[in-house]
């Protein structure tokens, strides 16, 4: 770091606790003016919390914030804004029913709003930074990429000198991500400082100047010069000294096809096509990985197989049974297990206790007449808890107190119990600590050796390359390529994820 260049932001020894979690435990960050600064770390490393502290959303329990050398004390996002700090959150903070222009001027407008004049202003600003967008359109009609442009416009309109982007590329296609990179470079040239949160190392390599790495809420490496640092070194810093990685499972011959999908078409929540004419087979004893930028139909695909989303055409066959229009229960009876992406919202009932959650898929068999058989319930639950090493308090306590890893063990354990033939696992290791990731991955591999057909949907390419027997890439609802994880080149997979079919 060049000591003569002034610092835009300095965060010193920030602590932030939430009930049950310490999100920041002495994190530090120094951002040089006019640079793009990457903040790296695994899920749960405390990146978002630290940024929310800087943006005035959270009050730190301890620590100091300095902006341009001045100590600051933010009570609210408004304070941070007036200090010139703007943040683009991972979940967009937009009012869907408002127009682009209304969203941009929200909080800054003159007392009286003149629609045409704010639309002109916003249009000009967008043009100036090469962000193409129609200021008069309501936000609910926009794509994710367009919405992000609105978010960036908001900070530009406020003339924010320090811009925080929280995993901005998670919802973008690689092409959109490149365009974002160009925009950010433009903005840095005008003297703005950009904090770029990511766990995608190639992006950091491509357009960041410096990088700070967080792990377990602490800063483990501060302001590394990106061009002098190897990607492998950054990865090592993120994961820690001894990352427990699962070895590639031993190859085995696959058996019968247990999950067959053909000609599947599915609409998303906005009634737009999410999956288009998709066909695939998963055989007994293999793990088929699905890679892709999030939002390319993976979520809808998993939901449709589980019976939670209706499809407009196509068939789904599980273990030889045509279950295209079957209820989730009947699919479960046919041997389907499902690990949903949204664990607490879909997979578990947060207000109920461990026993009640453990029996969720099997309570129909634990009855005595209309009553639930309490002793059988407890036995059933204890069995899952023991076999899958779920660490819980009293079983009759609500699961809300369990850690993320234990919640996932409970959920996965429950899905693996019973007569399992096919498992659909969506982001099964997301947000877990290293140990938790390993435990879940080992369970998947074990099921594979038992002959279960596993469809693994993940955003973590390394996980897919390690675990999969075959790797499919989804783009805009279609499968754009099949790869052999042993031999495939990352570059080719990346190209397929971007929609460029490898020839």
């Amino acid at each position: 770091m060049n000591s003569s260049t002034p610092l835009a932001v300095r965060l010193v020894d920030i602590w932030k606790r939430f009930p049950g979690v310490i999100a920041n435990a002495g994190a530090t960050l120094s951002v040089t003016e006019g640079t793009i600064h990457a903040v790296l770390g695994e899920n749960g490393a405390g990146k978002s919390t630290l940024m929310n502290v800087l943006a005035g959303m959270y009050r730190p329990d301890a620590g100091e914030i300095q902006v341009k050398g001045e100590p600051c004390w933010f009570q609210s996002p408004a304070d941070a804004l007036s200090a010139g700090i703007g943040m683009v959150h991972q979940e967009f903070r937009l009012v869907p029913s408002f127009t682009v222009a209304e969203n941009v001027v929200l909080g800054t407008a003159e007392r009286i709003l003149r629609r045409s004049s704010i639309e002109t202003d916003v249009g000009n600003l967008a043009h100036e930074f090469g962000l193409s967008i129609d200021p008069s359109r309501p936000v609910w009609q926009l794509s994710m990429g367009e919405r992000q442009r609105v978010e960036i416009l908001k900070t530009l309109y406020r003339n924010a000198q320090i811009l925080i982007l929280d995993e901005p590329t998670a919802v973008l296609t690689p092409k959109e991500a490149d365009e974002l990179g160009t925009t950010l470079r433009e903005m840095a040239k005008t003297g703005r400082s950009i904090i770029f949160i990511s766990h995608k190392l190639h992006e950091v390599k491509e357009f960041c100047d410096e990088a700070t790495v967080l792990r377990d809420g602490k800063t483990v490496a501060a302001s590394l010069l990106v061009k002098d640092t190897e990607t492998v070194e950054l990865a090592g810093l993120m994961v820690g000294s001894s990352p427990a990685t699962t070895n590639r499972p031993v190859p085995q011959t696959r058996g019968e096809p247990l999950l067959s999908i053909s000609g599947l078409r599915i609409l998303d929540d906005r009634f737009l096509p999410a999956v288009q004419d998709l066909s695939l087979d998963v055989y007994s004893g293999e793990i088929v990985g699905i890679a892709g930028v999030s939002g390319n139909g993976q979520r809808e695909l998993a939901q449709a197989i589980a019976g939670l989303r209706s499809m407009t055409s196509g068939t789904v066959t599980i273990n030889g049974e045509n279950l295209t229009n079957a209820l989730p229960v009947d699919r479960s009876k046919a041997g389907l297990g499902y690990v949903p992406e949204d664990r607490l919202g879909v997979g578990l009932a947060p207000r109920l206790n461990v026993i009640e959650n453990a029996i969720l898929r099997n309570y129909r068999n634990l009855r005595q007449g209309p009553l639930l058989a309490e002793e059988q319930m407890i036995t059933y639950c204890e069995d899952i808890v023991d076999r899958f090493g779920v660490r819980t308090g009293p079983l009759a306590e609500p699961i809300a107190g369990l850690s993320g890893g234990n919640l996932q063990r409970l959920l996965v354990g429950r899905e693996l119990s019973g007569n399992l033939k096919v498992l659909v696992a969506a982001q099964p290791t997301r947000g877990l600590d290293v140990k938790g990731v390993k435990a879940i991955q080992d369970l998947l591999v074990a099921e594979r050796s038992r002959g279960v057909a596993i469809l693994l949907i993940s955003e973590d390419l390394d996980e897919l390359l390690t675990l999969s027997d075959r790797l499919l890439v989804m783009h805009e609802g279609k499968i754009l390529g099949e790869f052999d994880p042993e031999t495939a080149k990352r570059h080719d997979i990346g190209a397929a994820m971007a929609g460029e079919v490898a020839t």
Binding site: W15, Q75, L308, D330, E356
Partner: protein, 357 residues
């Protein structure tokens, strides 16, 4: 100078809710004392009379018990819907619908043996309330129409229906022009229990206990709790949300309807406009204070019954019976306020210094 902010406690205070309830009660009583004193009454004499009239003798208890019956059933109705995160604000109208149906049975069932007549009346009351709950239930389950508003609107519709009946088709020809329905036959009256108390108390208690049992012990109740915890999880477990919404809102309406039937058969000599003295709305407060638990509903209903009976008794002292209405609302506000502090603590934040907790 710092600011005060609420910070979520890491663990909910144990026993916080019952404590909150007691604090709420205390706050309400204190404000009541102030109000009474300001308006020139002797607060303690008024309170003494209220206690005397509501629980001071077997007869007082019997009146309180009668009052607690519709409150408890209305509270249970709200709690049943609440167990799935739905709000039935329509208990008031469903009580009226239940009373109307029961009154109709009493009209056509002249000469039936009393046990049969009463049974049919009460079943009809359940059907009446359920019918009023059915519309909002279907609209909510099929189209996602907000049940708060539909049930609220139907209260007014049911009230108008009742008014129309007693001003028109059901007007007693012998009432000399007054809009009064004819007096119920003796066979249509619920038998007595002790003093003024009637069998309604037993029925209400049975219904409340039965629902409590069903909710906690049966597979159906389990499904209900899963659905109440997370709708998506219920779908995933193969529980039909639509069916659950439908059954729960209809059941809720039926329970409120039963309250109307019991009120007519047990407490009123004829169907009148004011047959529900705001029981439906009070039921919402009862359910909220009971945290939607059936056992809590019974207890809070008894307390509110006592407060209401006490309120009626102080009119002879020249004090407005509205004191009891005020107390009921204040108990809830006090309890909500106190309840917040079992989940949150107050922390002062200052600019100068940050303290590590």
């Amino acid at each position: 100078m710092g600011r005060l902010i609420l910070v979520r406690r890491e663990k909910i205070l144990r026993g916080g809710q019952p404590l909150a309830f007691l604090i709420g009660l205390t706050i309400a009583m204190t404000i009541g004392i102030l109000l009474l004193a300001i308006s020139g009454h002797d607060p303690f004499a008024v309170y003494e009379r209220m206690v005397e009239a509501s629980v001071g003798s077997p007869k007082a208890w019997s009146i309180t018990l009668n009052r607690a019956v519709p409150l408890g059933l209305a509270g249970l109705a709200v709690a049943v819907a609440g167990s799935m995160g739905l709000w039935n604000i329509g208990a008031e109208g469903q009580i009226l619908a239940g009373a109307i149906m029961a009154a109709w049975v009493a009209r056509i069932g002249e000469g039936w043996p009393s046990p049969i007549l009463i049974t049919v009346m009460l079943l009809a009351a359940v059907a009446g309330g359920a019918l009023l709950g059915l519309g909002p239930a279907v609209a909510r389950a099929q189209i996602g129409v907000n049940e708060i508003i539909t049930t609220l609107m139907l209260n007014e519709v049911a009230l108008r229906l009742l008014q129309w009946l007693i001003h028109g088709p059901w007007k007693d020809p012998e009432s000399r022009g007054f809009p009064l329905a004819p007096i119920l036959p003796e066979e249509a009256r619920l038998p007595g229990l002790f003093q003024r108390a009637h069998w309604g108390a037993i029925i209400a208690l049975l219904v409340i206990a039965l629902f409590g049992l069903v909710a906690s012990k049966t597979a159906w109740g389990y499904e209900l709790r899963v659905a109440g915890s997370s709708g998506a999880t219920a779908l995933y477990a193969g529980i039909s949300l639509k069916k659950k919404i439908l059954t729960v809102l209809v059941l809720s309406g039926g329970i409120a309807g039963l309250a109307g039937g019991i009120e007519l058969s047990g407490n009123s000599d004829r169907i009148v406009e004011g047959i529900s003295a705001g029981y439906g709305f009070a039921g919402i407060i009862v359910a909220a204070l009971a945290l939607l638990r059936p056992s809590g509903v019974a207890a809070v209903a008894l307390l509110f019954g006592a407060v209401q009976v006490g309120g009626l008794s102080i009119q002879t002292m020249g004090v407005s019976s509205s004191v009891s209405t005020i107390l009921q609302a204040l108990i809830l506000f006090g309890a909500i306020g106190a309840g917040v502090f079992s989940r949150y603590s107050i922390k002062r934040v200052s600019k100068e210094k940050m303290d590590v907790k």
